[in-house]
């Protein structure tokens, strides 16, 4: 450190671009803690998932969890006295916990992408109207197909199709206006209002059973989690992450320098914005279709991550995934224990947990939001 002080004194207004000063180790060290923090976050996440499996009314020990995972992964014979614990772990708890974590991570990554792209820390993956569109898709399927007889995958497909179709519509309208940020935000508001009204209209006309099914769907929960859901959500998440990380520095340029400066920094702003919004919408749509509307995590997750690891998207995107995953895992664990055996939908709990955290974040920020 003494050398750098000396240099500072020596070259007060330096003008030449001569060789760099001999503090060449320092630059790299400046950000070296971030990968470490990410790795630590990943370890904590795995531990949290394992611990969460042991929590619940039916007693399951850590050893049971480990045994069940080994058995399920490598095969073997299932002892009769272990079969109850085994099925609780592999059929009930693990799928719902992994779905909760995956869904939280996906929503949070989608939120971080949207906040960066639209240069606005207040937007979430649902800003373009994904969740009301998906809810309407589900409500439409439930109304047309009947609340009890309809297989779950029809509702999921209807929700997914509607969410993607509406997002494509919003994006094509916005591209006519050169994907301007204000245009996207306003179109999102319009679409949200429209589809909330459409769902309300269906609810208004629905009979008792249908109404209940529609409302239940919109709560957002991981109660019906199965391995198929887990696979799809995690595959979409794990395919999206490397893709968005590849463009993270370009996302940095858009988020921190604005469209014009990002172009002058060599970023293909228009196509990149469309591409990354598609990824974000896809992540959000898949989660909403399987779990219903889980608000807040897509807004709060990136904020928590930003507070811990900074705004650089190369680290923020994975950190957002971890923060969102942990937040939803915590919310679901609370939801299935506080009033056990009753299970409160995670979409409700996450708002109870997330709102105080978010308010605290806003009030303790060093600088005011502009």
């Amino acid at each position: 450190m003494t050398t750098s002080l000396a240099e500072r004194d020596a070259g007060t207004p330096p003008t030449g671009r001569g060789p760099a000063p001999a503090r060449d180790d320092r630059p790299r060290r400046a950000g070296a803690w971030r990968p470490v923090a990410l790795a630590a976050g990943a370890v904590v996440s795995v531990l949290a998932i394992v611990v969460a499996v042991t929590i619940g009314t039916a007693g399951v020990t850590l050893a049971d969890v480990w045994g069940a995972i080994l058995l399920a992964t490598f095969g073997g014979t299932l002892q009769p006295d272990f079969s109850q614990a085994y099925s609780i772990v592999t059929e009930l708890r693990l799928p719902r916990i992994l779905l909760a974590f995956g869904a939280g991570a996906a929503l949070s990554v989608a939120g971080a992408i949207m906040q960066g792209l639209l240069r606005n820390p207040l937007v979430s993956p649902f800003t373009l109207g994904v969740s009301p569109a998906a809810a309407f898709g589900a409500a439409l399927a439930i109304t047309l197909g009947g609340a009890t007889t309809l297989p779950a995958w029809v509702i999921i497909l209807s929700a997914l199709g509607m969410a993607l179709a509406v997002s494509a519509f919003v994006l094509s309208l916005a591209s006519a206006k050169k994907m301007a940020v204000a245009t996207l935000l306003l179109l999102g508001i319009a679409v949200t209002q429209l589809f909330e009204a459409l769902t309300s209209a269906l609810q208004f006309a629905a009979n008792e059973n249908t109404l209940q099914a529609i409302v239940r769907w919109t709560f957002g929960s991981v109660n019906d989690a199965n391995w198929g859901d887990v696979q799809i959500v995690w595959i979409v998440l794990l395919l999206s992450l490397p893709l968005v990380l590849w463009f993270a520095k370009d996302l940095n340029a858009i988020a921190f320098a604005g469209d014009d400066a990002a172009k002058s920094l060599g970023v293909n702003v228009g196509p990149l914005r469309v591409g990354l919004i598609v990824v974000s919408v896809l992540l959000a749509s898949v989660v909403v279709s399987f779990c219903g509307v889980i608000g807040f995590v897509g807004l709060v997750g990136p904020h928590i991550a930003r507070l811990v690891i900074g705004a650089d998207h190369r680290y923020l995107l994975p950190a957002s995934g971890l923060a969102g995953g942990l937040l939803l895992l915590l919310a679901d664990t609370v939801g299935r224990t506080v009033m056990a055996p009753a299970v409160i939908p995670v979409g409700i709990v996450v708002a109870f947990i997330g709102a105080p955290i978010f308010i605290n974040l806003i009030l303790t920020r060093k600088t005011a939001l502009r």
Partner: protein, 260 residues
């Protein structure tokens, strides 16, 4: 060896902003784009910066076509300092300057990138602030960060779009002095859109007067600042005098008209 802007036309929708602008800036010199609001000077910097594509015309540097370059190649040749930058996120000064390295690295910055960042931070005297969040900076400091970012971009051409409008007098002078110094010490070609005629006259080698998307006059400030031409362009009578070796433009204010 120069930056050549050749018959550039550009319009926002139906509104023609640049109506055939041609101009040559010698390498290593500092050129000012002057003119009233809406004259097209900001737009011209954005066309050369690659932010806007012109409807027709060309931009060449050292004889090579610039507009045909890919975005990244373009960004390694020409840097751009925008008018202002609101950043809605907490970002340190160092991270903000690193953005200038975007066209140079792949996924993550290497040692050479950080060295350039540190050089730029040193050149603009931002060492004390480098760990500070840019949302905590004053307007003048934030503007210096933007200039540092463009310096870190390490380009042969530097474009500045009214970088001094938000600054107080001292930082206006310091910024202009710095840009002039860089053109001299690094052989960088600088083009600045600026309002203040006297600052342009003091620091720039060449002055170009734009009006309604056309160049009205160009040359050294002493050649370009013609009383009649300025009066016509700005719709205001002016006097042009030489003072300490530099031209100075003063508006003529008619007392009677004000009192009426």
């Amino acid at each position: 060896m120069s930056l050549v802007i050749d018959d550039v036309r550009f319009s926002y929708g139906k509104h023609l902003v640049l109506d055939g602008v041609s101009l040559e800036v010698q390498e290593g010199t500092f050129c000012a784009l002057l003119g009233p609001n809406g004259s097209g000077k900001s737009t011209l910097t954005k066309v050369v910066a690659g932010v806007h594509r012109p409807a027709s015309g060309g931009v060449r540097f050292r004889g090579d076509d610039v507009l045909g370059l890919g975005r990244r190649a373009h960004a390694r040749l020409i840097g751009y300092v925008p008018q202002s930058a609101e950043v809605p996120f907490d970002l340190t000064v160092r991270e903000a300057v690193l953005l200038g390295r975007t066209p140079h690295f792949g996924i993550g910055p290497g040692r050479a990138d950080w060295e350039r960042v540190d050089e730029a931070i040193g050149l603009l005297g931002l060492e004390e602030l480098e760990g500070r969040s840019i949302s905590q900076l004053s307007g003048g400091q934030a503007q210096r960060v933007l200039v540092a970012r463009a310096i870190a971009q390490d380009t042969r051409v530097l474009l500045l779009d009214e970088p001094t409008s938000a600054l107080d007098l001292r930082y206006q002078i310091e910024t202009l002095q710095l840009v002039r110094q860089i053109t001299r010490s690094h052989g960088i070609t600088a083009l600045i859109a600026i309002h203040d005629l006297n600052h342009a006259g003091r620091f720039c080698d060449q002055a170009v007067l734009l009006h309604r998307g056309r160049i009205q006059r160009a040359g050294t400030p002493a050649e370009a600042f013609d009383e009649a031409a300025l009066a016509d362009i700005y719709g205001l009578d002016v006097t042009v005098e030489e003072r300490d070796g530099y031209v100075e433009v003063r508006p003529v204010v008619h007392e009677l008209e004000l009192q009426r």
